[in-house]
């Protein structure tokens, strides 16, 4: 687990759905609302907050730096203000924000959110994929929502890995049964599809990251074979 607690700003349907889905991932999940009336809600433990830069009250109960913040205020201007306010105070805080449209999503990113989910575009993408690519959509959906044994993982090349210093195109991946390598992420965080011209001539370096698809046991086997480990870095996120 990367962070200890989740802070959800805003109390609405989005917030309750987020609570439902992430409560098992964190030691504590706290909801903060701008509306004092929400405190009376019996189903959820809701605390009041305002948009001033005073975070001391929240700091008393949780360590904000070790938390992940979900900004779900429905008023987009207030949500942007909240993100700016959090980012100005906590440089390393992971902030996930919800936006109605891509236009406001860009503003939230500019305000300092690590990740923004644009509601309209996301919903439209899902509807379009359901209609146009039902098979691939179903398989990717199952992969993503743990309904399938298939997984996507990032494997970081360690100093001891025996594929280090080899040209990517010279490696016969069929030796690694049950694994498909999709892309390689360089040190500078730019990633290349495995069959792109640039990637084919790439010499695998230490700290390069391979993105692979496979069953859990095969991925573990692959990790062992190449002498590397799974790797996640939140700072690599980009929309």
């Amino acid at each position: 687990m990367l962070k200890n607690s989740a802070l959800i700003f805003g109390f609405n349907n989005y917030a309750t759905e987020i609570v439902k889905n992430v409560q098992n991932e964190y030691n504590s999940v706290s909801i903060y609302s701008l509306d004092e009336k929400d405190i009376e809600n019996k189903e959820y433990n809701i605390k009041h907050f305002d948009l001033s830069d005073d975070w001391d009250e929240i700091e008393e109960s949780v360590s904000i730096v070790d938390s992940i913040a979900f900004c779900t205020l429905e008023d987009i201007a207030e949500n942007i203000f909240l993100v700016i306010s959090l980012r100005a105070t906590y440089k390393d805080l992971t902030i996930i924000a919800i936006a109605s449209h891509k236009e406001s999503a860009n503003k939230l990113l500019m305000a300092g959110a690590n990740k923004v989910i644009p509601l309209v575009e996301t919903t439209a993408d899902i509807i379009t994929n359901m209609l146009e690519s039902p098979v691939s959509n179903g398989i990717l959906h199952d992969m993503l929502y743990n309904k399938s044994e298939l997984k996507i993982a990032q494997i970081k090349i360690g100093s001891e890995s025996h594929i280090k210093d080899e040209e990517l195109s010279s490696i016969d991946w069929s030796h690694y049964h049950g694994i498909i390598v999709l892309s390689v992420m360089h040190k500078d965080m730019s990633s290349e599809f495995i069959y792109s011209s640039k990637a084919r001539r790439h010499i695998i370096n230490e700290d390069d990251v391979l993105v692979v698809v496979g069953y859990e046991t095969d991925i573990k086997e692959f990790e062992k074979k190449i002498g590397s480990n799974r790797y996640v870095n939140w700072s690599h996120w980009s929309w």
Binding site: L2, A6, N13, Y14, T16, E17, I18, N21, V22, E25, I68, F70, I96, I98, H101, K115, I117, L119, V120, E121, T122, T123, A124, D125, I126, I127, T128, N129, M130, L131, E132, S133, V135, S136, N137, I139, L140, M143, L144, Y145, S148, K151, I152, A153, G178, I180, L182, S183, F193, I194, Y195, S196, V211, V213, G214, Y215, V232, W234, H236, W237
Partner: protein, 520 residues
């Protein structure tokens, strides 16, 4: 006895499938603008008309070949006469009128009144015979009697037949017909001005030896030329009084012209939306497949844009004229029809089962979406319906309305955030593969018999040569997905190949597997 015979014949015709089918076929061919073969008949008839006029013009100063003469006088006339008779036949059903009369009389325990039925038939058929279009049709046949020179000029009546075949002429006529009263008033006004000015100018100028106006006909000719603002100048008033009359007529002429122009413009402006709607409906009828989107709000806008980008036809129905206007401005086919009303679908004249790929209820209101879904379900039980769900508490209601797939945005956000924090890598990659902007893309390629004829196993596909990753094979029959299949895995008709790669390379690979023919 005669009555019995006529009644039996009427029942025989009315119940004869082949007779009714033939009648329906000709009715569609001649009168149904939505019938796909009608336009060919229209084009054929228009070609005959132009050929006929061309022959008439040619023979004014040049001798024409006999075959052209006979073609023009006999062949075209006979074709037009056959058309006239067919239109007469399909205009109304004599057998139906007789049967209705017989059943009506029998219900009232009276003897069958044949003369009453015949009167009704005569009245109906006469209404056709004396309609302007039928008179033009008949006059167009007259050149058949070419011995009578005057009758040959009736060829020109064939030009009027163009009104029948060109939809735009019909539109023009229907637009101008909406201003019948205004045109009538204008006509009365213009006639009075012409009459008064003609008499006045005649009185003022007829006795003047220097004036070119000598007869009442010349006075009327001058008045019409002047009031129409044409003013040839061949006849001009010379007396002082006559010029005063001219000033009045010129002023009245400007008013008449301005009034006429404004009438035509206003008639078109008022009917413009209706004309556009008719055109849109005609375009929709011609579509083979399309997605029917009900409502044009934020999610709908994005879905429509994405589906159109992928080459799909979309029809938008919305009861709000402002949203329809917005959709039209965005370049989509949209109609200001309420998707919740049966009448809207009747007006569309579409085959829901074959033409609609799926119905998307994308109003941001559960009430509106339930209403639309129920309307569509009442028309078709099998259509795929997808809908937005705005409130979780309404889920059961929407399911009960017959919606197949529900999209609840709040739930999606919950699931997405879970993946964001739990499997960020998978989330990123999958999002990237699904994204329209990304170069690397996932595609599902349907396996057809043609592909099977060339490739029987996965290994033979040679996807690596095209720099394409074969993620797996989806077997539609069993619903199972075979990830990273071995080279000797058989592929079957109906399977789907899930491939990942650059869009261009996937396209090349797809073309290759579809076109490769196995060596003998």
């Amino acid at each position: 006895m005669l009555k019995r015979l006529i009644l039996d014949a009427s029942y025989a015709l009315d119940t004869s499938k082949s007779y009714q089918a033939r009648k329906k076929f000709f009715k569609n061919l001649l009168e149904n603008n939505k019938y796909k073969y009608k336009k060919y008949v229209d084009i054929f008839m228009m070609t005959l008309i132009f050929a006929s006029v061309a022959v008439l013009i040619r023979e004014v100063k040049h001798p024409i070949h006999d075959y052209l003469f006979y073609f023009n006088s006999y062949v075209i006339s006979i074709i037009f006469f056959i058309e006239y008779i067919l239109r007469f036949w399909i205009h109304s059903s004599m057998s139906k009128i007789i049967i209705n009369q017989a059943e009506h009389d029998s219900l009232l325990s009276r003897d069958f009144n044949l003369s009453k039925a015949l009167k009704k038939i005569l009245k109906l058929k006469a209404s056709y015979i004396f309609s302007i279009t039928a008179i033009i049709d008949l006059l167009a046949v007259m050149p058949f009697f070419h011995e009578l020179r005057l009758l040959r000029l009736f060829i020109l009546f064939r030009v009027f037949k163009l009104f029948r075949y060109a939809n735009s002429f019909q539109t023009l006529a229907s637009v101008l017909a909406t201003k019948k009263f205004e045109f009538f008033t204008l006509g009365i006004f213009a006639s009075i001005v012409i009459f008064v000015s003609s008499v006045l100018i005649y009185v003022m100028e007829a006795n003047n030896p220097n004036s070119p106006i000598d007869t009442l006909f010349e006075a009327v000719y001058w008045s019409i030329v002047t009031i129409s603002t044409v003013g040839y100048g061949d006849i001009v008033p010379t007396s002082y009084e006559g010029r005063i009359v001219a000033l009045i007529v010129i002023t009245a002429g400007i008013a008449v012209l301005a009034f006429t122009t404004s009438l035509v413009v206003s008639a078109f402006t008022e009917k413009l939306d209706e004309i556009k709607e008719v055109k849109t409906v005609e375009d929709i009828i011609k579509l083979k497949h399309f997605y029917l989107v009900c409502g044009y709000e934020s999610v709908a806008k994005d879905v429509v844009r994405k589906l159109v980008k992928r080459g799909n036809a979309i029809i938008i129905l919305d009861e709000d004229p402002l949203r329809v206007e917005e959709a039209t401005k965005d370049g989509f086919k949209a109609l200001n029809y309420d998707p919740g009303k049966l009448e809207s679908y009747k007006k569309l004249h579409i085959n829901m089962q074959t033409q609609i790929r799926a119905v998307l209820c994308l109003r941001e209101s559960d009430v509106a979406n339930v209403y639309t879904a129920l309307t569509i379900r009442s028309l078709n039980k099998n259509l795929q319906i997808l809908s937005l769900l705005m409130e979780e508490s309404n889920r059961k209601k929407l399911q009960f309305a017959g919606i197949n797939t529900l999209i609840y945005p709040q739930e999606l956000i919950g699931l997405i955030t879970k993946e964001l924090v739990g499997q960020p890598v998978a989330f990123e990659i999958i999002h990237e593969l699904r994204s329209e902007e990304s170069n690397v893309h996932i595609r599902e390629l349907a396996v057809t018999q043609r592909i099977i004829d060339s490739f029987s196993t996965v290994g033979e596909l040679g996807n690596k040569k095209f720099r394409v990753i074969l993620l797996g094979v989806y077997k539609k029959d069993t619903g199972r997905f075979y990830f990273n299949p071995l080279d000797n895995t058989f592929i079957e008709n109906g399977d789907f190949l899930l491939v990942i790669g650059n869009r261009v390379f996937i396209k090349e690979f797809e073309t290759y597997i579809h076109t490769k023919v196995k060596d003998a």
